[in-house]
């Protein structure tokens, strides 16, 4: 793994560069293909037009010469007639004998052109016209030649030939190429420039988000990423990150609160321990006095230990490290065990502890932790219900869950406490002055953590004067 400090590869790695390169590449490819297709089509159509024209000319010429091919003067006259006022050198007619000699040429400079011969061995009627593109030594451009064989009035075979210089067609194609290349260069430049601009514009919000996110640290968690209100992908990204920040901030706030509360919670027993020790040390004490103080201090040590245990358990739960056994637990048995433990205490306090159980319902879970939940809930009920009241632990089937209720008909809790009862270190009993040590305000948080780790839910219902009901739902199992 590379260290987080190592600077990331920038140049080719950025989205901006990649976007630009891709845009340029795609534009270039499209332009090249487009120009190529146009060029080929254009060249093809030019040639096609020339070929059509030459075929017409040579056909007409062959028909004309059939009567007087043996007479060069008449042939020359026919050529001149056909050429009419055409500029010299553009179209050339020639008459060749069957052995390839040039008999008559409409233009003297074309007398020595070497052009291919049509296949005469197959007979003269085989193909009316033959085409060839011939490179002429004297010219720096090729000529297109169209040939037709015919039989003269004297019975010998002749070849009529029309040749068209391709210089103008080549010039047109060259112009086309030049224009295409210029267009290509302009298009690629435009694509690169456009790519840079578009990538820059669309990525600027990303840079803003990056910059802002860099500024947000543990000390500035309240800040949020700016939204542009466009509702596009980047706005949604920023919103998502903001929601994440919200959760992180909330979590950090709770952790801070938790740490502060925990320290506070540890300070009180420590203060008592230290104070007691100092008072005892200030004077000579009897053995009984010393013993009493030490006995008292052991209770505070137990309390400190319990807080540390509870905090560790919660921390494990927060870290997702709570390892639960997953076995079928007869929930009625678990309740019975805990009720058996608290029964005498309830009786001593004048509370009737009743159960309504069903032995057929099995919970899938960890018996030790489930007993801990029940112990916390029943202990709370016994602690707060008050003399002469009743605490009922009941269970019922609810779909694929088992719903277990610990209900008392004691004084209940004021509704303003209800939303906070599962908060860590929250105590509804700030003014409580009952017997025994106060809880440390973690019991219900731990209950919730354990129940939720089992895939269950826990909730508290209460109305002042009508007692409290804690409802725990846990997934049931067939056993």
């Amino acid at each position: 793994m590379s260290s987080a400090k190592a600077p990331p590869k920038r140049r080719l790695g950025t989205i901006r560069t990649r976007l630009t390169l891709w845009s340029a590449f795609v534009t270039t490819a499209v332009c090249v293909v487009l120009c190529g297709v146009l060029y080929i089509g254009f060249a093809h159509s030019l040639q096609h037009e020339i070929d059509g024209f030459l075929a017409g000319e040579v056909h007409q010429m062959a028909a004309l010469l059939a009567h007087h091919a043996q007479d060069p003067a008449a042939v020359q006259a026919s050529f001149a007639l056909e050429l009419g006022a055409r500029p010299r050198g553009v179209l050339v007619f020639r008459l060749k004998s069957a052995d390839g000699r040039v008999l008559v040429s409409s233009d003297t400079f074309a007398e020595n052109w070497q052009t291919p011969m049509p296949p005469l061995d197959q007979g003269i009627s085989a193909e009316p016209t033959h085409f060839a593109t011939a490179n002429i030594a004297e010219l720096d451009y090729p000529v297109r030649v169209c040939m037709q064989t015919f039989t003269g009035a004297d019975g010998s075979h002749y070849v009529a030939e029309a040749a068209y210089a391709l210089d103008r067609m080549y010039a047109s194609l060259a112009t086309f190429r030049t224009v295409a290349i210029v267009a290509l260069v302009v298009a690629v430049a435009g694509a690169v420039g456009g790519g840079v601009i578009i990538a820059g514009r669309s990525l600027r919000p990303v840079e803003l988000i990056t910059k802002k996110a860099n500024e947000i640290g543990a000390q500035r968690l309240a800040e949020r990423l700016p939204l542009r209100g466009t509702g596009d992908e980047l706005d949604r990204l920023a919103e998502t990150l903001n929601r994440m920040l919200e959760r992180v901030e909330d979590h950090v706030r709770r952790v801070r609160q938790f740490t502060a509360d925990a320290s506070h919670e540890l300070r009180s027993p420590l203060a008592v321990l230290r104070g007691n020790a100092e008072v005892i040390l200030a004077r000579q004490r009897s053995a009984e006095e010393l013993r009493a103080t030490i006995e008292q201090s052991v209770e505070h040590y137990d309390r400190l230990t319990r807080i540390a245990d509870d905090l560790l358990l919660l921390a494990k739960g927060d870290a997702g490290e709570l390892r639960l056994a997953r076995e079928p637990v007869c929930f009625a048995d678990a309740i019975r065990g805990v009720v058996d433990l608290y029964g005498p205490l309830a009786e001593e306090r004048g509370i009737v502890l009743r159960t309504e159980l069903n032995d057929d319902l099995l919970v899938c879970g960890d018996p030790t932790y489930l007993r801990q939940v029940l112990s916390n809930l029943i202990e709370n009920a016994v602690k707060y219900a008050g003399a002469g009241k009743q605490v009922t632990v009941s269970m019922a089937e609810a779909g694929d869950m088992i719903r277990s209720t610990v209900r008392d008909n004691g004084p209940g809790i004021p509704p303003e406490h209800l939303p906070h009862l599962f908060d860590r270190f929250y105590r509804a009993d700030q003014a409580w002055s009952g017997q025994g040590p106060r809880g440390c305000g973690l019991g219900l948080s731990i209950c919730r953590m354990i129940v939720e780790a089992h895939g269950g839910t826990i909730r508290i219902e209460s109305q002042p004067g009508h007692g409290i009901a804690v409802v725990v739902s846990l997934p049931r199992t067939g056993g």
């Binding site: 052991v298 540390a308 065990g337 433990l341 608290y342 007993r371 801990q372 025994g436």
Partner: protein, 225 residues
């Protein structure tokens, strides 16, 4: 009985030394792993109390080395971290028991006794303490010849005390063994149970057998100290 304590924290080592000596054990203390290993290899101890977090040679390494040299002395590990991995690792390496700091000293004593007793069967039935007799097979208890009328829970509590007669049993241990509850409820819930049991076992008789050690737990024995 000679016990070796391998513990680097002077406070911890001090009270272990004092407490164990007062429980009538001979105690040696080593304050690092190398010294502890040397002592454990050269002297026949009856048990070793080993802290897992030691400077130099860790507790795990000491344990591994001991077992590698085929020294089978029972070992109780002490650790400040209650993690399943640590516990499993310690037991895999051949530890015999495991306690998480902070622990009840009485619990350490009880576990130490259990380790030292291991192999010797204490299968006397009924168990007698003075004129109290607890029959763990018939699940009945008699005092001075009179049958005591106990609920199943009361009998379970008495049985646990009787099986450890003369031993100081911490509250947490009683809760764990009798009610299978691993968490100290911090209320006087156990006290109420013990008082009920006491009413039936002790009240009509001149010599009390169930004694409260305030702040720590209970002991079943004849005489007060």
């Amino acid at each position: 009985m000679r016990i070796l304590v391998i513990e680097d924290d002077p406070g911890m080592a001090g009270f272990l030394h004092k407490g164990l000596r007062e429980a009538a054990y001979a105690v040696d203390v080593a304050d690092d792993g190398h010294e502890g290993l040397r002592l454990a290899c050269n002297h026949p101890y009856d048990a070793v109390v080993l802290d897992l977090m030691l400077p130099g040679l860790s507790g795990f390494a000491v344990l591994r080395e001991l077992r590698a040299r085929d020294i089978r002395t029972p070992v109780i590990c002490l650790t400040a971290r209650d993690s399943v991995d640590d516990r499993v690792r310690g037991l895999d390496l051949g530890a015999d028991d495991y306690l998480v700091k902070p622990f009840n000293f009485a619990e350490l004593l009880a576990r130490l006794r259990a380790l030292l007793r291991r192999g010797q069967t204490v299968a006397t039935n009924p168990i007698s303490v003075a004129d109290l007799s607890v029959d763990v097979v018939a699940r009945t208890a008699h005092r001075a010849g009179q049958r005591l009328d106990l609920s199943p829970t009361e009998f379970a509590l008495l049985e646990f005390l009787a099986r450890h007669k003369g031993e100081l049993l911490p509250r947490t241990m009683i809760l764990e063994h009798v009610w299978d509850l691993k968490q100290d409820p911090l209320t006087n819930v156990l006290e109420v149970h013990v008082n009920r049991l006491r009413k039936k076992v002790d009240h009509r008789f001149s010599v009390p057998l169930i004694h409260t050690i305030r702040g720590i737990g209970y002991v079943l024995r004849e005489g007060t100290s």
